[in-house]
Symmetry: C2
Subunit: 360 residues, 2 copies
């Protein structure tokens, strides 16, 4: 900047204001400055700018890890949305460790980020370290693994809706005895998916039969066992909603091993849209978790908070509507089949209602 100022015989003030389009600089001077800046390929020093202004163009992300299908996709969504808004992201992994999570927050604080996006580590039971952010007025948004309560800003998937939609789909395909391969019920996501399943049964007037629900850790092998158990029962199910794709996969493999056909004898739906669900034979019907949209929604919320700049802001919880991906493992009447077409109305966010708040 000093060079530019010297060359044009003006002060650095003028340069700075010309570049930031300040009203007190004449258009002629602005042109000259801009041209010279381009010529010299001037790169503003963001550090200096952020130091002086007290706000950087950086957002902090704290995730348990960057692996698997879910978090990378969310991060992808976050980075895209942030970058569009002129922000960059600095990523931290907590490795499912509260202590590391705390350290990450400190680091982000000292990096003077403009806001923080957090998905909680599995071991986080105490949330005091987030108060530090709050006390410094640093905007904070949780996603997926969130702090419960309605005084936080958060974005989650509406798992209950997901369980409901998947189950209703099976019902529409003619299933009347629908089993549920459930996950650990101390985890909200699995509890909610199960509730959605029950909702759909009730709505259709089908009986809620606990013998049709098998609880697993949602790994393939346990699902195989669960399915074997279900098929051994006198009145075997004609449909299965698994609360996770690994569950659905195990179920499908066992069904086929016993010589039954999917979906004709047993229709199957999973949850999560794991990569492998498109390569199985038949491909698995599943629920997409809108990972990217979750990231984008979280960034939108965070940017609102940043723009509010400390002014009172009513905390908001957003629940994303999951998307049913109908594939071959569940389609009996070959009528409707949307492979991956997204309905426009599913793109919008669902503002939290009493039901969605329960999720949080």
């Amino acid at each position: 900047m000093a060079d530019l100022a010297r060359e044009l015989g003006v002060s650095m003030t003028t340069i700075s204001r010309a570049l930031s389009d300040h009203y007190s600089i004449g258009p002629a001077m602005k042109q000259k400055v801009l041209k010279l800046a381009k010529k010299y390929n001037y790169q503003p020093n963001r550090l200096a700018s952020a130091l002086r202004k007290g706000k950087s163009q950086l957002l902090g992300i704290v995730v348990p890890y960057i692996e698997g299908r879910f978090f990378p996709s969310v991060v992808h969504g976050i980075e895209s949305a942030a970058s569009k808004a002129g922000y960059n992201v600095i990523i931290c992994q907590s490795n499912e460790d509260v202590a590391q999570e705390r350290r990450n927050l400190d680091i982000l604080l000292s990096a003077q980020v403009a806001g923080v996006l957090v998905s909680l580590s599995r071991t986080t039971r105490d949330f005091r370290h987030f108060e530090k952010l709050r006390s410094r007025g640093l905007p904070l948004v949780f996603f997926d693994r969130i702090v419960e309560g309605d005084n936080v800003n958060a974005v989650v998937l509406d798992d209950q809706e997901g369980g409901y939609v998947a189950t209703r789909h099976l019902i529409e395909q003619g299933c009347r005895r629908i089993a549920h391969i459930a996950g650990p019920q101390h985890l909200n996501i699995y509890k909610n998916r199960r509730q959605g399943y029950l909702d759909a049964l009730r709505e259709a007037g089908l009986p809620e039969d606990e013998s049709l629900i098998v609880y697993t850790d949602m790994v393939q092998s346990q699902a195989v066992d669960a399915m074997r158990e279900l098929l051994a029962a006198p009145n075997r199910p004609d449909g299965v909603f698994a609360a996770g794709d690994y569950g659905a996969l195990g179920a499908q493999q066992e069904v086929q091993r016993q010589g039954l056909r999917v979906p004709q004898d047993v229709a199957i739906a999973g949850f999560s849209n794991e990569t492998f669900t498109v390569v199985t034979e038949p491909s698995l019907t599943t629920i997409d978790q809108r990972c990217e949209e979750m990231g984008q929604a979280a960034v939108r919320l965070l940017l609102e908070l940043i723009e509010a700049d400390g002014r009172p802001f009513a905390p908001r919880q957003v629940a994303l509507r999951p998307e049913l991906l109908v594939r071959n493992s569940s389609v009996r009447n070959s009528s409707v089949r949307n492979s991956a077409v997204r309905h426009p109305e599913q793109e919008r966010l669902v503002e939290v209602t009493a039901k969605a708040r329960k999720l949080a």
Copy 2:
């Protein structure tokens, strides 16, 4: 810092030097400062520090995208290694677009990162934008998708070795007619995997038969077609090395559809260790790409460059040794089977030789 200085009745100089363990500060004073800093929960402002010192504790990453199996894992490795060394990472996606890649570099420059890790976008043919980094003395390391030449620092997987190891494994399992489902040969990775395949054949004294090589875009459907073609030939193969797991998957499905057994009739090996390779029936033998190690190796190299601090540094290319994961799709004699046990010697980096340099 000013608060601490006031409370202790010393200058900020003393505070700063006490915190950074400067020799000219007495141990007594250091203790006092440290204690007070802890008490007030003092967080240094990294921006100010970086501004003054001219170097931040940030590393920049530019990847085509953060999705799929590969890049997230590499990023995972990068973040872990960087964080251990006291650095944080700021992530940018080029979306396979050179213009975006250029913009990302500019942003990282203006963020005053200490170094940059890059995996090229697919559309990058012109590498002048990297010269800008060089001219500013900013350390730069490429990984996976790298700039060719021996005047760059880069970390890659030894794809040729991977092709060789996979093929040799099939030979050891008794295969004598081994087909190759190849990928687009204008991409180095596929070219090298094919070369490794040929190397293994030659070493074993098996004929190189072009009719056993089918070129595809490495998608499942084309692999199915390729396999059908191979099986229709008068002298069908008894083993298949696919240059990608989607190819292996398609091949396996077609083999099974024709009533043949995997691995007894046709043994199969893939490449990439995609998530689904463990859930297929049988599970797929494949080559792991050492994603995490690649990230770690890249960071190590970058840190060396940073520490060299402008002093002459001989550019180095590192080739990681791929790891063969033997699974059920290829094991005929049930003798050896290492599911995922890593041999210690595979952990080390292989410094580039003439062969590996060809890769780059």
